[in-house]
C-alpha cells in the first residue's frame, strides 16, 4: 500500500521531469547546446499561468480560464524561446560550445532576476480549480497526476511521430545528424532550429503547468531545480533520445520519492539521484537509450 502510493507519487513527479527533459533533449539533439535557460522558461510559463489565471478567474468559468491561461503560457514561452535563440544563441552559432553554454547561463540568470523585479521574490500561490481524485479501492490518485502522465505520454508519442513522419521532423533529424550536409541538401537550418526552440519552450510551458498542478506555488527560482533534475534525466535516458527522456524522467522521479520515504536516506536524495547518474554513465557512457557515435579523426 505504502509502496504503491510512493510509486504513484514517483511516477507523477517523473512525468513532470520527463516533460522538461523532452524539451532539453530536443534542443540538445538539434542545436547541440545545453540550454541552461530551459528551466527558467518553465518559470516564465508558470508566471504566465499565474497572471492569466488570476486575471481571468471570476469572469470566465474556471476550466475555460485555466485553458486560456495555459494557451497564453504556451504562446509566451514559444515566443520567448524563439526570441532568446535569435538574440542570444544565433549570433554564436559556429563559436565554441562553451561560449554558448555561458550565454545560456547568462540568459538563465537574466530571466530569474527579471522575474524578481516584476513579481518579487516571495512565492505566489496559483489558484487551480479542484480536479478531485480517482478512488481505486484504498488507493486515491488525483486527476492532476493522471493528466500529467497521460499528457506526457501523448507528447512523447506525438514528438516521435512528428520527427519520423513529417518533412520538418525529418529535416530536424538530418540537422542533428550533420548540420552542414543537411544545409547542402536544402534544409533551412535557421528555420529548423527556431522550430526546435519553439517546440521545446512550449513543452516547458506545459511542464510549468504540471509542476503547478502538483505544487501550486511559483517563485523566480521555480525552474532551476527541476531544470537540473530534468537535465540529469535527459542524460540518464540518453540525451537526444525522445523515449530516453521519458524513461530517465520517470526513473528519477521514482528514485526521488522512494529515497524521500526512507527517513535515513531522505537527506541524501539529491546525492542518490546523482550517484545513479554517474553509475549509469560509467556503464553506458551515452545514457540508457543514447546512440553511440564512433569518433572520427
Amino acid at each position: 500500500m505504502e509502496f504503491l502510493l510512493t510509486l504513484i507519487n514517483g511516477v507523477s513527479l517523473g512525468g513532470i521531469y520527463a516533460m522538461i527533459a523532452l524539451g532539453y533533449t530536443m534542443v540538445y539533439g538539434i542545436a547541440k547546446m545545453l540550454n541552461f535557460a530551459h528551466g527558467d522558461i518553465i518559470m516564465v510559463g508558470g508566471y504566465s499561468i499565474f497572471v492569466f489565471a488570476a486575471t481571468s478567474f471570476g469572469t470566465l468559468p474556471p476550466w475555460v480560464s485555466l485553458l486560456f491561461a495555459v494557451l497564453m503560457a504556451v504562446i509566451i514561452c514559444a515566443l520567448l524561446g524563439f526570441g532568446v535563440e535569435k538574440l542570444a544563441y544565433k549570433p554564436l552559432r559556429g563559436a565554441s560550445p562553451l561560449a554558448v553554454l555561458i550565454t545560456a547561463i547568462g540568459v538563465s540568470s537574466f530571466l530569474q532576476s527579471l522575474a524578481q523585479v516584476f513579481f518579487g521574490s516571495a512565492a505566489k500561490f496559483v489558484q487551480f480549480p479542484d480536479l478531485g481524485s480517482l478512488s481505486l479501492g484504498e488507493l486515491t490518485v488525483s486527476y492532476s497526476t493522471l493528466i500529467t502522465l497521460i499528457s506526457t505520454v501523448i507528447v512523447m508519442l506525438a514528438l516521435t511521430l512528428f520527427v519520423k513522419l513529417t518533412k520538418t521532423g525529418r529535416a530536424m533529424l538530418a540537422v542533428s545528424e550533420d548540420r552542414e550536409a543537411a544545409q547542402l541538401m536544402g534544409v533551412n537550418i535557421n528555420f529548423i532550429i527556431s522550430i526546435t526552440f519553439i517546440i521545446g519552450s512550449s513543452l516547458a510551458a506545459l511542464a510549468g503547468l504540471f509542476s503547478l498542478m502538483n505544487v501550486p506555488f511559483i517563485k523566480p527560482t521555480f525552474g532551476s531545480l527541476p531544470g537540473i533534475k530534468a537535465f540529469t534525466a535527459a542524460v540518464i535516458g540518453g540525451i537526444g533520445s525522445i523515449p530516453g527522456a521519458m524513461l530517465g524522467g520517470i526513473l528519477l522521479g521514482v528514485v526521488e520519492c522512494f529515497s524521500n520515504s526512507v527517513p535515513t536516506l531522505a537527506p541524501y536524495t539529491n546525492a542518490i539521484e546523482f550517484a545513479i547518474l554517474i553509475i549509469i554513465l560509467i556503464v553506458k557512457p551515452t545514457g540508457i537509450l543514447g546512440k553511440k557515435r564512433r569518433e572520427k579523426v
Binding site: 505504502e2 518579487g120 521574490s121 500561490f125 505544487v215 506555488f217 520515504s261 531522505a266 537527506p267
Partner: protein
C-alpha cells in the same frame, strides 16, 4: 625585446593603476569611519535577492519605516538616523563584503544579519571591530556568543524547548510527527532541541519524522509518511509549510494540528487569498513573538502601516519585519536611556566602538525595558522586552492559532 619590455611596463602600470584606485577609496586602517557622518548610520546585511529575499526585504522595509518615523518625529535629540542595507543573498561568503562596505561607509550600529548562516560570519567581524549587533531574526544560538551581540528573536534552542514543553503539557497521548528541513540550521537546530525536550511518552509511542532539503516543494512522499499523525510539528518557513499543507489536504486527517515556530508566521499569505487558506482543513498554529493576525493593538497598527507604505502583495509583512521595526526602536530607546539615565554623550560622529560600549551597558542594565510590538501585547499596551547578559531576549511568546480546524 623592447616591445616586451613595454608590455611589462604597461602591465605594471595597469597594476599600479588598480592599486592606486583601490587605495584612493580609503586611506587609513584603524580609524573612525563615522567621523564625517551627518546621521547615525544603522547597518543591516540580509538577503535582498535570491530565495530568502522576502525576509531580507521585510527587514529592510520595516527598519526603514521605523527610521523614517523617528526622523519625522524629530529624531533623537535632533539627530537623524539612516539605514544601510546590503544584500548578502543569504550566503556566508558575502558577509565580508557587505560588512566591510557598511563599516567603511560609517555604520555605527548594526542590526547584524537577517538570517543565521551569514550571521555566524558577521559576529566574528563585528566582534573584531566592537560593533553593536541587535539582530532582528538570526535565531542561531551561536549568534550572540560574544558580548556585543543581542537578539530580538528567540534563539533556536528556546523555540525548540518551548515547543516541546507545550507538547508535553497539551498534546499527551497524541501521535506526533515532525517535518523539517535537514540542511537548514534554523530548522534542524529547533528539531534537535525539540526532540531532546519531548517527553518519553511521545517517543515510546513513536515520533514520525520526515525531512526535505534544498528548494524543492514536492512533498507528496513526506505527506504520506506523516498521514497518521495527530500533531505535526513544522519548524520550517512559510513557503515549504504552505506547500506541505496544500499537499496534506485529503491525506492528513482533518483533525490534525499543525504547530510551528516563528518561521510559520505569515503562512496564510502564501496562499494568496484567505479563502484558499481556509480550504486547509487542519488547525494551523505556531509559537511566535509576533501576531501578524492581531485585530487591534500595536501589532495591528504596525501591519496596517506597513501595508500602507509598501506593496504588501509583492513584499508581504512577516515577523522578521516586525522584529526589525522593534530593533530600530529598541536602539532608539536605549540611546535615549543612555543619555537620560546613564549620562552618556554621543552624536552623529561617535565611533561604532563607543556606541557598542554604550549600548551594551544599556542592554545589560536591569532597569532597561523596551516596549515593542513583538512579544505578548495585552490590549493596546506594548509588550515588555528585556535582554539577559548573554544576549538572549526575554519576552513572552504565545501560541497563535492562525485558523482553527474546519
Amino acid at each position: 625585446m623592447k616591445n616586451v619590455f613595454k608590455k611589462v611596463v604597461s602591465f605594471t602600470l595597469a597594476a599600479a593603476l588598480t592599486v592606486g584606485s583601490m587605495f584612493a577609496l580609503a586611506s587609513c586602517g584603524k580609524k573612525n569611519y563615522a567621523k564625517d557622518n551627518e546621521t547615525i548610520k544603522i547597518g543591516v546585511s540580509g538577503p535582498l535577492t535570491g530565495g530568502a529575499a522576502k525576509y531580507g526585504i521585510a527587514v529592510k522595509n520595516s527598519a526603514k519605516m521605523a527610521i523614517d518615523e523617528i526622523n519625522a518625529a524629530g529624531g533623537l535629540y535632533g539627530m537623524k538616523f539612516e539605514l544601510l542595507a546590503l544584500d548578502d543573498e543569504h550566503k556566508k561568503e558575502n558577509v565580508t563584503t557587505t560588512y566591510s562596505a557598511m563599516y567603511e561607509d560609517g555604520m555605527q550600529i548594526s542590526l547584524g544579519t537577517v538570517t543565521t548562516a551569514p550571521g555566524l560570519e558577521f559576529k566574528e567581524l563585528s566582534k573584531d571591530d566592537n560593533v553593536f549587533v541587535l539582530t532582528p531574526s538570526a535565531t542561531g544560538d551561536d549568534i550572540v556568543e560574544y558580548s556585543n551581540a543581542y537578539q530580538m528573536c528567540f534563539a533556536d534552542s528556546n523555540q525548540g524547548t518551548a515547543s516541546a514543553q507545550y507538547f508535553n503539557a497539551n498534546y499527551q497521548g497524541k501521535k506526533v510527527g515532525v517535518f523539517y528541513k535537514a540542511d537548514d540550521e534554523y530548522s534542524s537546530g529547533i528539531y534537535e532541541k525539540f526532540i531532546a525536550s519531548l517527553d518519553q511518552s511521545f517517543k515510546s509511542a513513536g515520533v514520525e519524522t520526515a525531512t526535505f532539503t534544498g528548494d524543492g516543494l514536492d512533498f507528496s512522499t513526506q505527506v504520506n509518511m506523516l498521514k497518521d499523525c495527530e500533531v505535526i510539528f513544522l519548524p520550517i518557513y512559510t513557503e515549504p509549510a504552505a506547500a506541505f499543507m496544500k499537499k496534506g489536504v485529503g491525506v492528513i486527517s482533518n483533525s490534525a494540528i499543525y504547530y510551528g515556530c516563528d518561521g510559520l508566521d505569515g503562512v496564510e499569505a502564501e496562499f494568496g487569498t484567505w479563502d484558499e487558506f481556509m480550504a486547509i482543513p487542519q488547525e494551523v498554529s505556531f509559537l511566535s513573538h509576533f501576531n501578524s493576525k492581531a485585530e487591534s493593538g500595536p501589532a495591528y497598527d504596525f501591519v496596517q502601516k506597513y501595508n500602507a507604505t509598501y506593496d504588501s502583495d509583492k513584499e508581504p509583512v512577516n515577523q522578521f519585519g516586525a522584529a526589525a521595526y522593534d530593533c530600530v526602536y529598541a536602539i532608539f530607546e536605549a540611546l535615549k536611556f543612555a543619555k537620560e539615565n546613564l549620562g552618556k554623550e554621543f552624536d552623529e560622529s561617535t565611533s561604532p566602538s563607543d556606541y557598542c560600549d554604550i549600548l551594551t551597558e544599556v542592554f545589560n542594565s536591569d532597569s532597561f525595558v523596551f516596549h515593542g510590538i513583538t512579544g505578548k501585547c495585552e490590549g493596546n499596551n506594548k509588550s515588555d522586552i528585556s535582554w539577559d547578559d548573554s544576549g538572549f531576549v526575554n519576552k513572552q511568546a504565545d501560541k497563535y492559532v492562525v485558523k482553527p480546524a474546519n
